[in-house]
């Protein structure tokens, strides 16, 4: 009997439940798809390095999944409470007929169970299908071969999804039961008679609040978007809070002002159904302010996460060719174990990196078709603080958080030009008593340019040098996938005469053509490197001074880059999607219940002869406004949020920002727009009268 009532309730309120069900299905399938990535990727042909990254990715994904399940859980509880409220009258009838609260709870429990099982099954079905598509995406992101791929059903992910969503449903049931136990029959019966009072806000107060909020937001934007380097970690949450508060106030004041402004435009107001439309909106906007704020902030997070993730991926992959022009690089340096300071490599019996290989009976140049060996110098009297000339004080007050004690890297112009010949990049010309500063890390470049613009004179090893340019030149020495060079001083050769180099680098290209040959050569190079590094390690274990070798290869860098890019893109996609869907659901639920509440009003409009076209347009505008308003503000937020993010994304490169923003817009248009369309069409069918 109970089962029958539950089942029929669901059938009866199918329209209400449709969006809830739909949401659950999406939630379940997204959850499954991302948790199934590990098993999906088993059939991709990837290197062991990439496998390692995929393992890292899956462990991060499962961590994020906990967070995601919290968001989804909140959403499900919200949606179910929302549906419960809609049915207060029905519950009142049950209670009035003498049904006990226990029984009512049992009915609800059965309903939740039915819907839960149904949505889990449907969601998993959809998820398994989607995850095959996801595999293609993963393969593409990791640039892997998919030829040995076959259909995968991840048992682990299925189990995980069932457990997580099972817990969520249990929470929903608990919430429902608590709600039922708190019911008072009188409240239930009167729940339909909601107060129709429309508080029109004082327009002057609205303007004041708006100005205040806009000012606050503007200030937060300015600090976050334009002066991000001046922000300490403590300040960031404060500005985020400020942004959230002003978002709320802006919605609050705009909602009040909107009606005042439009009501004063008589010709517009009394045209067609405009006055009805605006009253419909204004009657709800007061109560919608809170949820619009939440939605706006969630959209903001979604937009920023998505565009940042894509930007990192796209830029990193694009940077690879430009910033990694050689096959391998070996770095040799030493440090003092007690003080942590770098020490000169010449200290070890006057060896540079090539000589060091020789000492252990190896030829460093073996397997390389072309190579350059160069030295990097440090001067104890020449740290960051000493490099800004007259502007030092000004810079140090403006950017208090830089590590000014760091010693500058110094390279001779002939060493640098030999390397550039290998890299195929432009060589530099340097006059006597001149220096050039190379830097491609954007925010550091800004700082350094201030010093150079002031004509900073520097003293290196007793030589006084003038800047050859009034700004930093773009350039780097070490191969990488990112713009990491915070500053290298190129000086005339004679400056370092008789000085011991601090580090010794060896950079070269393999004597190999095809990718397979290169991989074989790389293996040999690594073998030699491992031997030499091991010998060096054991050479003098008790000494305070340690010397060590490091190796970077293009293959390693590109694998890590592609892997990291894929990892970030997938994580971003996961979080972004969940947030987007949540926004869509909250709005859709609110809008649809509004349509149901307004059914009578629309039939009234029809009775006095309003055109169907005008009624649809009115609904379209109402739905559109509630979807558009949070999106608009979220977009404005995002402009500054992304500006802020770009500072941190800088090391990954921000060249592909526009492309990422376009992709993000596409995704938002698809999902958020999809929710809008569904909501509008469902709303239209709700208010359509059956004749």
């Amino acid at each position: 009997m109970l089962f029958k009532i539950s089942f029929q309730n669901i059938r009866k309120s199918l329209r209400d439940y449709a969006i809830y069900f739909f949401t659950l299905i999406i939630g379940v399938s997204v959850f499954y798809v991302f948790n199934a990535i590990e098993e999906q990727s088993v059939y991709l042909e990837v290197s062991s390095g990439t496998k390692e990254i995929i393992r890292l990715l899956t462990s991060m994904l499962s961590g994020v999944s906990v967070f995601v399940s919290l968001v989804l859980g909140f959403l499900i509880v919200y949606a179910s409470r929302f549906l419960m409220k809609r049915r207060n009258r029905e519950f009142a009838l049950y209670l009035l007929l003498g049904m006990g609260k226990g029984k009512l709870s049992a009915i609800l429990l059965t309903e939740t169970l039915l819907i839960g099982i149904g949505s889990l099954a449907a969601g998993l079905f959809v998820g398994v299908g989607l995850s095959q598509v996801m595999s293609a995406l993963v393969a593409d992101l990791f640039e892997a071969n998919m030829s040995s791929y076959r259909f995968v059903l991840s048992g682990e992910a299925v189990l995980k999804t069932i457990v997580y969503f099972g817990i969520m449903y249990v929470v929903v049931m608990l919430f429902d039961s608590v709600m039922v136990s708190k019911y008072k029959l009188l409240d239930l019966m009167q729940s339909d008679r909601k107060s129709e009072k429309q508080r029109l806000k004082n327009p002057i107060l609205c303007i004041v609040v708006f100005a205040l909020a806009a000012g606050m937001l503007g200030y937060a934007y300015y600090r976050v978007g334009f002066k991000p380097t001046g922000l300490s970690e403590k300040l960031v949450p404060r500005f985020i809070l400020m942004g959230a508060a002003s978002t709320f106030l802006i919605f609050w004041s705009v909602s009040g002002l909107l009606l005042h402004i439009i009501a004063s435009m008589k010709r517009m107001y009394f045209k067609s159904l405009n006055c009805f439309t605006f009253r419909q909106i204004s009657s709800r906007i007061n109560t919608m302010v809170c949820s619009m704020t939440v939605i706006c902030l969630m959209l903001f997070v979604a937009i920023c996460t998505l565009s940042a993730a894509f930007s990192i991926r796209n830029s990193m992959n694009a940077n690879l060719d430009a910033l990694c022009p050689a096959d391998a690089a070996l770095y040799y340096e030493g440090y003092d174990r007690d003080s942590g300071n770098s020490v000169s490599v010449k200290g070890q019996d006057g060896l540079d990196i090539g000589a060091m290989y020789e000492r252990y009976g190896c030829d460093i140049a073996e397997n390389f078709s072309e190579y350059v060996q160069l030295s990097v110098y440090h001067s104890a009297e020449f740290s960051w603080a000493d490099s800004f000339g007259d502007k030092a004080e000004e810079i140090m007050t403006q950017y208090p958080f830089l590590a000014y004690a760091t010693l500058e890297d110094i390279v001779t112009v002939s060493d640098y030009n030999r390397l550039m010949e290998l890299y195929g990049r432009e060589q530099l010309k340097l006059g006597k008593d001149e220096y050039i500063l190379l830097c491609d890390f954007q925010s550091m470049k800004e700082v350094r340019d201030i010093g150079l613009a002031g004509g900073a004179e520097i003293t290196v090893f007793g030589h006084c040098l003038q800047p050859a340019y009034d700004h930093c030149l773009d350039g780097f020495i070490q191969i990488s996938s990112q713009h990491l060079n915070t500053g290298i001083f190129i000086v005339p050769d004679e400056t370092v005469e008789g000085i011991e180099p601090m580090q010794s680098f060896f950079i070269g290209n393999y004597a190999a053509e095809s990718a397979a040959e290169k991989a074989a050569v790389e293996e040999k190079v690594r073998e030699t490197y491992g031997y030499v590094a091991g010998q060096a390690e054991q050479a003098d274990p008790d000494s305070r001074i340690r010397y060590f070798l490091t190796i970077d290869t293009k293959m390693d860098i590109s694998e890590a880059t592609i892997g990291l890019g894929a990892l970030v893109a997938l994580l971003g996609l996961y979080i972004g999607l969940v947030f987007l869907i949540s926004c869509g659901v909250i709005l859709a639920l609110k809008q649809l219940s509004e349509s149901i509440d307004s059914q009578r009003r629309y039939s009234m409009l029809r009775k006095i002869g309003a055109e169907e076209r005008d009624i649809s347009r009115s609904l379209f505008r109402q739905t559109g406004l509630f979807f558009l308003l949070p999106l608009l503000l979220a977009c404005v937020h995002s402009v500054f949020g992304i500006r802020f993010a770009m500072v941190f994304l800088e090391i990954f490169g921000t060249e592909k920002m526009l492309e990422s923003i376009l992709i993000t817009s596409g995704i938002i248009l698809l999902i958020y727009g999809g929710y809008f369309l569904i909501t509008y069409l469902c709303g239209k069918s709700i208010i359509r009268e059956k004749i």
């Binding site: 129709e196 009072k197 429309q198 008589k266 010709r267 107001y269 009394f270 045209k271 067609s272 159904l273 405009n274 006055c275 009805f276 009253r279 419909q280 204004s282 009657s283 009578r600 009003r601 009234m604 409009l605 029809r606 009775k607 006095i608 002869g609 309003a610 055109e611 169907e612 005008d614 004749i691």
Partner: protein, 254 residues
């Protein structure tokens, strides 16, 4: 002059196994500037009749002519236009839009006819004066009394100068004093403004304000009496006697 002609209409509900004849062959005419009341017990088909005339419902058979238009043949798009331009509605539960002020409720009927805003203001003020609702124009429905609401609803119905005003139990939700006030306004509109009104009611007192009363029973016209030169009191007594004859719950409602 004849304004409305109902020609042998029928309205059936249900399917072949259980057929309900809500209207079973009704014919009558309404002249211009007439005030007709239709009486009947609940379930007699009077509301169905009104719904058919107001194009909210469709007849199963027969024709309804308003001036030169056979409204049973209109398509749904033409129906909206027809309702908008030719008819005015007054409902038992007022059916004002609760989110709009009285002024906006009245003006809505004009703005969906795409009248310019300036003209709207003029027209709304005029009908508000006629129906004595000028002082509640800026109020919302929840701030008004039942009588005021019904007069605002009536103002909305007549502001478009409809050919025919249809009222469905207009006094049903009103106390007797408000009902009287409203009906006097109806009389004023009918006599002074020349409005044609067709009103459905089960209340003999309400019906006695009309110039003619049609009685409906089981989907058929049972009787018809005109007021002629009678006073309202005499007419009321005549109606009572027919109602007694009619039996059923109309007499119970007295």
């Amino acid at each position: 002059m004849e304004l409305l002609r109902i020609q042998q209409i029928e309205k059936y509900y249900g399917n072949r196994s259980s057929l309900t004849k809500a209207i079973d062959d009704i014919s009558f005419t309404v002249d211009e500037k007439e005030f007709v009341a239709i009486m009947g017990a609940s379930g007699s088909g009077k509301t169905t009749l009104l719904n058919c005339i107001s194009t909210i419902d469709r007849v199963t058979a027969g024709h309804i002519w308003l001036e030169d238009t056979d409204i049973t043949t209109l398509k749904s798009r033409e129906l909206n236009r027809f309702r908008r331009e030719k008819l005015g509605f007054i409902f038992q539960d007022f059916n004002l839009l609760d989110t709009l002020t009285a002024y906006e409720n009245i003006s809505l009927a004009l703005s969906i006819q795409k009248l310019p805003a300036k003209k709207i203001e003029e027209e709304v003020r005029t009908v508000a004066r006629q129906l004595d609702v000028e002082d509640v124009l800026s109020k919302y429905p929840y701030q008004m009394s039942g009588g005021q609401k019904q007069r605002v609803a009536s103002a909305r119905a007549i502001v478009t100068n409809p050919r025919l005003i249809l009222a469905d139990e207009p006094t049903g939700a009103l106390d007797s004093r408000s009902a009287k006030l409203l009906l006097e306004r109806f009389n004023y509109l009918n006599r002074e403004q020349g409005a044609t009104i067709m009103m459905v009611t089960h209340d003999s007192f309400t019906a006695s304000y009309a110039s003619r009363v049609l009685f409906i029973k089981d989907g058929r016209v049972f009787d018809e009496i005109g007021r002629g030169a009678d006073s309202r009191k005499q007419f009321f007594n005549k109606i009572i006697s027919v109602v007694t004859l009619l039996g059923g719950d109309v007499s119970d409602a007295l």
